[in-house]
Symmetry: C2
Subunit: 337 residues, 2 copies
């Protein structure tokens, strides 16, 4: 069988099962392990806190092209995507290792611009870039590892597997904005200057929800994920890991004015399936959502609820309360659509 | 300027300086940092031990080709190369994150074979593979992050910058064997079965010197590096970081019988410049070398000594005590030879 027939998530499942089946659970590293393959980060018990580690590769032509993204923006985005995985755990990022593979005829100036974009974002979150690797390659590959920790041992971390039936599904910020920005840039669409600026920023300079992730943990939320593949796809990850299902009320989705105004008929699809918003999706009680809303400085919107069906299904409900059809799913590597 | 004009080590220097100059040293992550960019791993103070983190990318066509390496051997080699960086610090590897980028038409069986090779080696060193990332790409890219720690806080770690004038330069095992194995495989050279097996194993299944690295720390060695780019190149890294120079007596180099017998006229060049042996190179007193030799289960050979010249120069001395010419240098990315 080819990897493309199995799909990205099938491959991850297979490798996770292999890793689990093969490895000796009596060794110290496994004894202290809290989360292995399958959540936004790996997690294990440290002395005073839970340790978090996550890695992401960005491949030229797959995750980015340099015609619509500058090197500096690319550096920012690459680090933002990784920091977002720490945000999804409600954690504190601390150290980053950056591995760059690139063609020898790349301009040094471009590499330093890439690095400058990363360093700018790293500064804002007090993350120290302390290591990495450089090598030649026929195309640009950026691989970032982030090491972090829980904010304290008592408060714990957010996981994909803690959603419970009856909980509300809520999101930070707006959905579909980054996907709208990508479409605007790649199709050279012309909007007014304010819309252009906000859509461009959403795609090129996403801001990881580190502060919001920590607020979620502090207020007692237990289940979360970051929206990197799209709302439906990422909510499905939560549902599968928690053995529950979910209902989304499509008229409640928070869609930015610039997206509503310029993508009228497709705004809903972008909000449901558009990836790379790096907003947080979480499930909890109405009561806790109220506390989160009071503490957070971004919109917090309830978009649906968790149901008891163990199948991990997502149902969409339209404005009249009737089931609506799912648009095509979010991003998955290796699959052809 | 192009990256190829600057070279790999020039680029690393430039990025390290940028990272250092830009980042705020008052943040917690920097306050606890022991080693940033420029050693075999990053290192920072944990609660009970020093934390170590290292990352390496292997790119198809640059670091490996699949015509002479099976997928399983590739998995082993990829992890071995990374574990070797922890060995170079005298550390204990604990967790690994594996990031795989590959074409969608890759056979699932090949990916699981790759993973099996990694898991086999991981088991031997009690390392848990606990996370990673998979994505599509036009060629295979393997990126591994290893997290580990010092064996204890008191004993510390081995660094590149601790070599002192007057110390002896010693190595574990044999040099040039992996490079001889690569040459045998890629040029389809025919040797007797014993030589074939040992050279093949040296290149395809290198065994990281984790145990030996820990012995070095325990016996009081302070400076070490793993030989991944070749003896001269890696010794030069130590000399530059320690602001010393070194003299190598070429007739003392430990060369495996299979290399001596089959590469007679080129054996010395392979031992001086051949990469990927993943032996440890360290500097210390005669007295400590004696203790290391008593504790280690592999040959420990003195090959030269550290001198006071701050320029970071390597001088070769031939069997008659005369200066010998340096062969071409070890592996460096981006440079053309």
């Amino acid at each position: 069988m080819k990897v493309s027939e199995l799909g990205e998530f099938g491959l991850i499942d297979l490798l996770a099962k292999m890793a689990y089946a093969t490895q000796d659970k009596k060794i110290g590293a496994w004894q202290q392990l809290i989360l292995g393959i399958g959540d936004d980060t790996a997690a294990w018990s440290g002395d005073d806190s839970i340790q978090l580690a996550t890695v992401d590769s960005l491949i030229q032509g797959v995750h980015f092209t340099l015609d619509i993204t500058s090197w500096e923006e690319l550096g920012w985005r690459a680090l933002a995507a990784n920091l977002s995985d720490i945000a999804a755990m409600g954690g504190l990022p601390r150290y980053a290792l950056v591995s760059l593979a690139l063609p020898g005829d790349t301009e040094v100036e471009d590499v330093t611009a890439l690095y400058r974009g990363m360093l700018e974002l790293a500064q804002q979150f007090e993350v120290a870039i302390v290591g990495g690797d450089t090598s030649s390659a026929p195309l640009l590959v950026i691989n970032i590892t982030i090491l972090g920790s829980s904010i304290s041992r008592d408060k714990g971390i957010l996981t994909r597997s803690a959603a419970k039936p009856g909980e509300k599904v809520a999101v930070t910020g707006y959905l579909g904005t980054a996907a709208a920005g990508l479409e605007m840039l790649s199709k050279h669409l012309q909007f007014d200057s304010e819309a252009t600026a906000s859509l461009k920023r959403a795609f090129l300079q996403p801001y990881p929800r580190i502060a919001e992730g920590q607020i979620l943990v502090e207020q007692g939320v237990r289940a979360a994920i970051d929206i990197s593949d799209g709302l439906i796809s990422d909510l499905r990850h939560i549902c599968k890991a928690s053995q529950v299902s979910a209902r989304i009320e499509v008229d409640r989705l928070p869609i930015a004015p610039a997206v509503k105004a310029n993508f009228s008929d497709r705004a809903l699809e972008l909000a449901l399936s558009g990836g790379e918003d790096y907003e947080l999706l979480f499930t909890t009680s109405e009561d806790i959502i109220g506390k989160v809303r009071a503490a957070a400085s971004c919109p917090i919107t309830v978009v649906g609820e968790i149901t008891a069906d163990k199948a991990g299904e997502i149902t969409l409900i339209d404005e009249k309360g009737n089931p609506a059809n799912l648009p095509k799913a979010g991003w998955e590597h290796f699959t052809t659509r």
